[in-house]
């Protein structure tokens, strides 16, 4: 089954992806993120037609604890956060620390 890529974030963030052909998007203006970002992200995560969700790393701060935990552990669809540099998402780093017992990301970046 073919799936689509979805983008969630501010209109400035999503426009570029729409220019590359992404049609699944949720625009949440910066001043409404605290109220509406949870809803938008949950909607996209529950959509079976979406295989990859793209978000800005900074937007994770606006999510509630439950939704953020879903975003960080979701595999279908997988959430790719950008704008965090080479270290990857914070959730992944925490998961590595918990599973392996060492902060591998920290060691590699030093």
């Amino acid at each position: 089954m073919s799936q689509e890529i979805a983008v969630v974030g501010s209109p400035e963030f999503t426009t570029g992806f729409r220019l590359a052909g992404v049609r699944e998007f949720a625009n949440v203006p910066d001043d409404e993120k605290d109220e509406h970002l949870d809803e938008a992200v949950t909607g996209v995560l529950e959509d079976d037609g979406v295989g990859i969700v793209v978000m800005h790393e900074g937007d994770l701060e606006h999510l509630s604890r439950n939704v953020r935990s879903n975003v960080e552990t979701s595999v279908e669809p997988v959430v790719v956060t950008i704008g965090s540099g080479a270290s990857g998402g914070g959730g992944l780093r925490e998961q590595i620390k918990r599973a392996i017992g060492i902060d591998l990301m920290d060691e590699d970046s030093e």
């Binding site: 089954m1 073919s2 799936q3 689509e4 890529i5 209109p11 426009t15 570029g16 992806f17 729409r18 220019l19 590359a20 052909g21 992404v22 049609r23 295989g51 990859i52 793209v54 552990t73 595999v75 997988v78 790719v80 950008i82 704008g83 965090s84 540099g85 080479a86 270290s87 990857g88 998402g89 992944l92 998961q95 590595i96 918990r98 599973a99 392996i100 591998l104 590699d108």
Partner: protein, 233 residues
């Protein structure tokens, strides 16, 4: 705990079988955990490279779209974005790494030629084309990152589960089984000692009874011998 165990030989044999199975399982799970961590290290290196590329592509894409916005205006960029007709699609196939099913994502229609984009050539400028191209490259990197990160997340989950199983066997189940085994062995030894003592006591009692009987019989015989001459007189 040991208090719930019946101190029987059958139970001891069952516990020994369970210890054997648990030790074998513990060894296998430890090997699986180590193997998964080795595989994970390879994927982690790959993920760091992919993340680096993703970061660079994102910066480049942002620069080009900001340039397009500055030169053409936000409305023109949004207009072009709304006109796109071809949409990128992904299909997922799976690959098995040490029992963990990880996805392999195939993408189509991500990179498009100018005429496939659908916003027309006349109404837009090269700045918008450059931005679209940069975002198409960014999407390719995102798809690669999604594949690697999904594999990482799945492997981390499996490592965590395996680690928990290994720890449960090592620190909970096996110590309990060893404790139960020791308890039954001690109880059985105690029962054996009691049995030996009882047999010894029975033997002593029997011997005492036999001696008493013998003494009685001898006394009777003696009494009979004394009475016989009296009767003959």
């Amino acid at each position: 705990m040991a208090k719930d165990v019946k101190p029987t030989r059958k139970e001891l044999m069952q516990i020994e079988d369970r210890i054997d199975l648990s030790e074998r399982g513990h060894g296998t799970l430890e090997k699986k955990r180590d193997g998964l961590i080795m595989e994970f290290m390879d994927i982690l290196d790959q993920a760091q490279d992919v993340r680096g590329e993703l970061s660079e592509d994102y910066e480049r894409a942002q620069k080009t779209i900001n340039m397009a916005r500055a030169m053409e205006g936000d409305v023109a960029v949004r207009g072009a974005a709304a006109a796109l007709q071809e949409h990128p699609e992904i299909t997922t196939e799976s690959k098995n790494i040490m029992g963990v099913v990880v996805p392999q994502i195939e993408s189509s229609k991500v990179t498009k030629s100018l005429d496939q984009r659908g916003y027309g050539i006349m109404g837009t400028s090269a700045r918008i084309d450059e931005a679209a191209e940069a975002y198409e490259d960014l999407l390719q990197s995102i798809i690669l990152a999604a594949e690697v990160e999904t594999a990482m997340k799945k492997m981390l989950r499996e490592i965590e589960t395996t680690k928990r199983r290994v720890n449960a066997l090592e620190f909970k189940l096996l110590p309990e089984l060893y404790e139960n085994k020791e308890f039954i062995e001690q109880k059985l030894e105690e029962q054996e000692r009691e049995e030996i003592f009882r047999l010894k006591k029975i033997k002593e009692k029997k011997e005492a009874e036999e001696e008493a009987e013998k003494a009685e019989a001898e006394a009777e015989a003696e009494a009979a011998a004394v009475e016989e001459p009296v009767a003959s007189d």
